[in-house]
């Protein structure tokens, strides 16, 4: 029993002794120094945005930066929401305003185009609101009463695209087919050339009848 225990103790001691006496690999210090140099070369000398160490000052700065970031975010959200609200409510306000105002100035025809937000033009059309309402009109009314811009030109049709391609690439003979007179002239020319080529040969000259035949006697 005690012999068995001693064997186990010996084995444990042997393992611990092996761990105790383990020598570090050859050149380990040099490799560590080299890696530290590489790491130090790629490492910034000192962090500028946060002080080093778990200090109270460091915590204060982190809190302040976090608060400033949060405040900026909240302000951005509020401004964006206000912008959305204003852009949605503007057409309704101006439509109502325009309806009220058109009833006050019936001289302006309903179909008359209001060209732009130019104040003088608006005054000429009688659509400039009274002084008390101008602050509403200044930035919202002009856009709503301005005429719609002309519709953009639509693209070429398939036939137009083919014609344009033809004008760029085809030879004059093909282009001439687009002109009826030129086409008629060309057809006449071709017909004349055809007739000239296939015309029957001219008749041989007729022999005189008064020449006596030598076997006639």
């Amino acid at each position: 029993m005690s012999t068995e225990n001693n064997q186990h103790d010996d084995a444990v001691d042997q393992v611990l002794a092996a761990l105790r006496n383990a020598a570090s690999p050859e050149g380990m210090e040099a490799r560590i120094a080299q890696r530290l140099q590489q790491h130090a070369a790629g490492m910034p000398a000192r962090r500028l945005y946060l002080p080093a160490g778990p200090t109270l000052v460091g915590a204060w700065w982190r809190g302040a930066l976090t608060g400033a970031a949060a405040a900026t975010l909240v302000a951005g959200v509020v401004l964006f929401g206000a912008h959305l609200f204003r852009s949605r409510s503007t057409p309704a306000q101006t439509t109502g305003f325009a309806a009220n105002h058109s009833s006050a100035t019936p001289a302006v025809p309903a179909s008359a185009p209001v060209p732009c937000a130019n104040r003088t033009v608006l005054q000429a059309y009688g659509t400039v609101p009274p002084a008390g309402e101008r602050h509403l009109r200044a930035d919202t009314g002009a856009e709503t009463v301005a005429p719609s811009p002309a519709a953009p030109r639509s693209g070429l049709t398939q036939q137009e695209r083919e014609l344009a391609r033809l004008a760029r690439t085809a030879d004059p003979a093909v282009l001439a087919t687009l002109n009826p007179e030129a086409q008629a002239r060309q057809e006449a020319q071709e017909e004349a050339d055809f007739d000239k080529f296939f015309a029957p040969p001219p008749a041989p000259p007729a022999q005189p009848d008064d020449v006596p035949s030598p076997n006639n006697e």
Binding site: E4, N5, Q7, H8, D9, A11, V12, Q14, V15, L16, A17, A18, L19, R20, A22, A23, S24, P25, M28, E29, R31, I32, A33, R35, L36, H39, A40, M43, A52, G53
Partner: protein, 180 residues
């Protein structure tokens, strides 16, 4: 195995902080100890060396704080231990036991005896793995000559008497498990 906690190491006040120590001197003085600590956890020389390199890179990154550390060696051992535990999760030290046991066995033994000896050493490794965490840590750290009992207690967050008690229980448990 679990990482060692941060409960025991004492930090100096700002007035006590001195100039930054030389990291290369730390490498020269402590790399051997840290290598053995990592080797006791990983049982693989290459992985242990990587852990030592990682330890000194951490130190380089926090070299401004080094002057405030009173118990430098337990602090370094704790870093090495925790990094080795992290690395141990990615590898399986049991797979290295054959080669490590063969290295431990004396080369002068005949082949059959060397084989039996290596098998017994593998049993010891297996029994160590099944020890309670603190007992295993105390046993492995006690193998390091450079660490006194109080320094082992410092690393583990235990008193010296607790460390001695852990070592006794570890030995007893090992003996029982090797008997089975």
């Amino acid at each position: 195995m679990d990482a060692i906690g941060e409960q025991t190491l004492r930090w100096c006040s700002a007035e006590e902080v001195s100039a930054e120590p030389d990291v290369s001197a730390l490498v020269h003085d402590h790399s051997g100890l840290l290598y053995r600590v990592a080797l006791s956890v990983l049982r693989n020389p290459a992985e242990a060396e990587d852990v030592v390199q990682d330890v000194f890179i951490r130190i380089l990154e926090r070299r401004q704080q080094l002057g405030g550390i009173v118990e430098l060696r337990p602090w370094l051992v704790r870093i090495a231990w925790n990094l080795a535990i992290d690395r141990r999760r990615k590898i399986r030290p049991e797979q290295m036991d054959d080669a490590f046991a063969a290295d431990i066995v004396s080369a002068d033994l005949p082949a059959d005896q060397a084989l039996a000896e290596a098998g017994r050493i593998r049993q010891v490794f297996g029994a160590m793995e099944r020890l309670p965490r603190k007992e295993r840590q105390a046993l492995l750290l006690s193998a390091m000559d450079e660490l006194s009992t109080s320094e082992i207690g410092s690393v583990l967050g235990k008193s010296e008497s607790s460390v001695r008690s852990l070592l006794f229980r570890a030995r007893t448990h090992l003996r029982e498990r090797l008997k089975d």
